[in-house]
């Protein structure tokens, strides 16, 4: 047992460190530290920067344009990215549909889509949830009916993050009327410019527009856009379970710099002849959160070790998602608390500007509420662990 890096890994780390030092723009940092995503423009730009360096798809095999890195290399990459407050690559193309395409897609689909995911030219969104199908995704009712060389899709998708900037959507639809639940569901790739798609923005509690409702009204999609076999769409989702670790790891490793951001904020605030960071209440909470972050970092290392050993990492990825979202919520809440009355200055109405941390800190705290709901709510994650790992 050891944490030592081999000389090759050390050289790799130094290479990464140098790259990030040059490539990460200062304006990314504030959003990252507040637990927020940079803007879609920034994310696209960052994806292009990585792609140019050959690192656009850190988790993909080499044959599809990925890096082919080992779990340890990936861990080093994510650690260094976190250390530099680099943006987290947007995952819906890279980690969700990309791997399904290269695992189950046709050669034509691979050629057409994969390179543009890596370059950042295409932006994919995920057409899964529906008004009646949230935690219970298998209850979805959007239908695709075969009509010659096309599928005609009708239905409504909800919580479609970034549909308003996406070029493509991967969409779970029902292609068979007879069967129920998980049966008869297919995965179809949809160009967002196809007529019949209407997007309604859904503003969230942080007063931002991340997500949307997507209405599909007689949307005609070529049959060649079916991914894999008709009726097998549900099963393809399973390939994701073993890849969840990548998404979890990259976000979870950011917690330490987020704790650090609060520490800096508390250091800036004069209080009782010293700073707020010196008060026992704040110092103790920061210490607790730093310990949580260190623990979670180590859980990521264990997840990567699972990956290297080819072990089912699903339950551990669920644990990570749970602990990360809970901790992120506490971290962002503490930031808001530290700001005191400044946390009230969400929008300046008389041209004087807002305090340095606002409104990002509060947006971070509010947005963090979503993290224990999306991608499988905390309740669903606990169900998964109970079933898959504990046999309950």
């Amino acid at each position: 047992m050891n944490l030592e890096l081999s000389p090759e890994d050390l050289a790799f780390r130094d290479e990464l460190r140098e790259f990030f030092a040059g490539a990460v723009r200062p304006e990314y940092r504030t959003a990252i530290r507040a637990g927020l995503r940079p803007t879609p423009q920034q994310l696209t730009e960052w994806q292009a920067t990585l792609a140019e360096r050959g690192w656009g798809a850190p988790t993909w095999p080499k044959e599809y344009g990925g890096t082919g890195w080992t779990p340890t290399q990936l861990y080093i990459f994510e650690t260094e990215a976190a250390r530099a407050d680099a943006p987290i690559q947007f995952h819906q193309g890279l980690e969700l549909i990309g791997p399904i395409i290269f695992t189950f897609g046709t050669d034509d689909q691979k050629e057409r889509y994969l390179p543009r995911i890596i370059s950042g030219e295409d932006w994919w969104c995920q057409g899964y949830s529906e008004p009646g199908a949230g935690s219970d995704l298998a209850a979805l009712s959007t239908r695709a009916v075969r009509d010659g060389d096309h599928y005609v899709i009708n239905g409504q998708k909800m919580w479609t993050s970034y549909a308003h900037v996406a070029s493509h959507m991967f969409c779970l639809v029902r292609t068979s009327k007879e069967e129920r639940r998980q049966q008869g569901i297919s995965l179809i790739l949809v160009d967002m410019n196809t007529p019949g798609i209407k997007i309604r923005p859904v503003e969230t509690l942080d007063e931002k527009h991340h997500t949307n409702e997507v209405f599909l009204d007689d949307v005609r999609v070529p049959v060649s856009n079916l991914l894999g076999e008709e009726g097998k769409g549900w099963g393809y989702g399973k390939v994701l379970l073993d890849r969840e670790r990548a998404v979890g790891a990259s976000t979870a490793l950011r917690l330490r710099s987020q704790v650090d951001a609060i520490y800096s904020a508390a250091r800036r605030i004069p209080f009782g002849g010293a700073t707020l960071a010196d008060t026992p209440a704040v110092a103790t909470q920061l210490a607790q959160l730093e310990i949580e972050a260190l623990t979670i970092e180590t859980m990521v290392m264990r997840l990567m070790a699972d990956a290297a050993a080819g072990v089912d990492s699903g339950p551990r990825a669920s644990m990570l998602k749970l602990r990360w979202s809970e901790t992120l919520q506490k971290v962002t809440e503490l930031w808001t608390e530290v700001l005191g009355y400044d946390a009230a200055v969400f929008e300046d109405l008389s041209g004087e500007g807002v305090p340095e941390d606002m409104p990002l800190a509060l947006q971070g705290a509010l947005y963090a509420r979503v993290t224990s709901i999306y991608g499988g709510s905390s309740e669903i994650q606990r169900n998964i662990i109970a079933r898959r790992s504990l046999g309950l």
Partner: protein, 372 residues
């Protein structure tokens, strides 16, 4: 010993219930606010003034209704329940006792909603310690000249006058030497920076550089403003607790309703034991918040002199439990709870700000500990 509402209080509660349901329905809240835009909904202030609610916290000799702490509790709790964007806790309950010596016509304007008064808090680096006043007031000619910064004038965004605590002597958190001034928004030397909080309340920051006030504008005796200021803040704290308790009441009930109607996996989600138990914990949190708020309110009414210790207990406990309830309400609603369209998210935003205002849970917990 009696914990029931009086007949008058029940009537008041019913009246707020009607007003809230009709004039400010929960389902329309997001649309109403969006239509109103940055200016907010100032007309509501006049409407509730017409209902006489603003008279409640003012003493009878001031032309008010002489409502007690528990009357204010009923009022504030109804407002919180319906998330009415009216700053009764701050622009009425908090300031009323400080205005008691003002001229009758001025008070009438305040109670009829024509004139709004806000209390200037957040002095310099004092954070939540409202008796830690660094702003100075120097006697110049017939009046005083004020210098300092007040970072948080609660609901001062639309105020016409500000009550400004400033030091005529002493320093730090000394009780002696704090004087209270009533300052018009238009005063020379006063810069008002207006801002909006996430709950759509409108506050402001005051920068006083040689702001002038006539001696008539001194409220009460020079140097003796500390005690009344502390008492006023206590009243404001209790009203804010009640507002939060009202919001918790609404949140618990609408979440319970959601659990009974929303189906997933072929059954109402309220049949899942883990959600049932969470819901129970939310109701317990409400029970706790209500209990400690009633206790602190009634002890204040009886004039228990505890330097606001029980009020701090209530503020701490209500801050903790209300944020728990709001966060869990969102969690149990899932995605929909995080949208602007859902009133659930508005409750979290309001409760986040109610926790902060007049000092958050952590501050009041430590204050409670300090007043052993």
């Amino acid at each position: 010993m009696n914990l029931d509402l009086t007949e008058d209080q029940s009537m008041l509660a019913d009246s707020i219930e009607r007003f809230g349901t009709e004039r400010w329905p929960a389902a329309d809240r997001w649309r109403l606010l969006r239509e109103a835009g940055a200016k907010g909904v100032p007309e509501l202030w006049g409407e509730i003034a017409e209902l006489g609610w603003l008279m409640i916290p003012f003493a009878e000799e001031q032309g008010g209704l002489g409502g007690s702490f528990d009357d204010a509790m009923v009022l504030a709790s109804g407002i919180g329940k319906h998330l009415l964007p009216v700053p009764v806790s701050t622009n009425a309950v908090l300031v009323a006792p400080l205005l008691k010596d003002c001229p009758a016509e001025f008070l009438e304007d305040v109670m009829t909603g024509k004139v709004r008064v806000a209390l200037a808090l957040g002095d310099g680096d004092s954070r939540f310690d409202h008796l830690n006043v660094a702003t100075t007031a120097e006697r110049t000619g017939a009046g005083y000249t004020l210098n300092g910064v007040k970072n948080f004038v609660a609901d001062g965004g639309d105020a016409d006058h500000f009550i400004v605590p400033a030091r005529t002597s002493g320093s730090g958190a000394e009780l002696e030497g704090i004087s209270l001034f009533l300052l018009s928004r238009e005063s020379d030397g006063l810069t008002v920076e207006t801002y909006r909080s996430i709950d759509n309340h409108r506050h402001c920051r005051l920068r006083l550089s040689g702001a002038e006030t006539g001696s008539a504008r001194l409220l009460g005796e020079e140097g003796k403003g500390g005690l009344p200021l502390g008492m006023a803040v206590k009243g404001g704290v209790l009203a804010q607790c009640a507002e939060a308790v009202g919001a918790m009441d609404a949140l618990c009930n609408l979440t319970l309703e959601y659990l009974k109607t929303r189906s997933q996996f072929g059954q109402p989600i309220g049949t899942f034991q883990s959600l049932q138990h969470r819901m129970v914990d939310m109701f317990i949190a409400y029970e706790e918040a209500y209990s400690i708020t009633v206790r602190a309110t009634l002890e204040a009414k009886e004039g228990v002199m505890d330097r606001g210790r029980m009020a701090s207990a209530a503020k701490a406990k209500v801050g903790q439990t209300s944020l728990f309830v709001a966060r869990q309400a969102i969690q149990l609603h899932g995605g929909i709870g995080t949208s602007d369209e859902s009133v659930v998210s508005h409750y979290l935003r309001r409760l986040t700000m109610l926790d902060m205002a007049l000092g958050n849970a952590s501050h009041h917990l430590q204050r409670f500990a300090a007043i052993a």
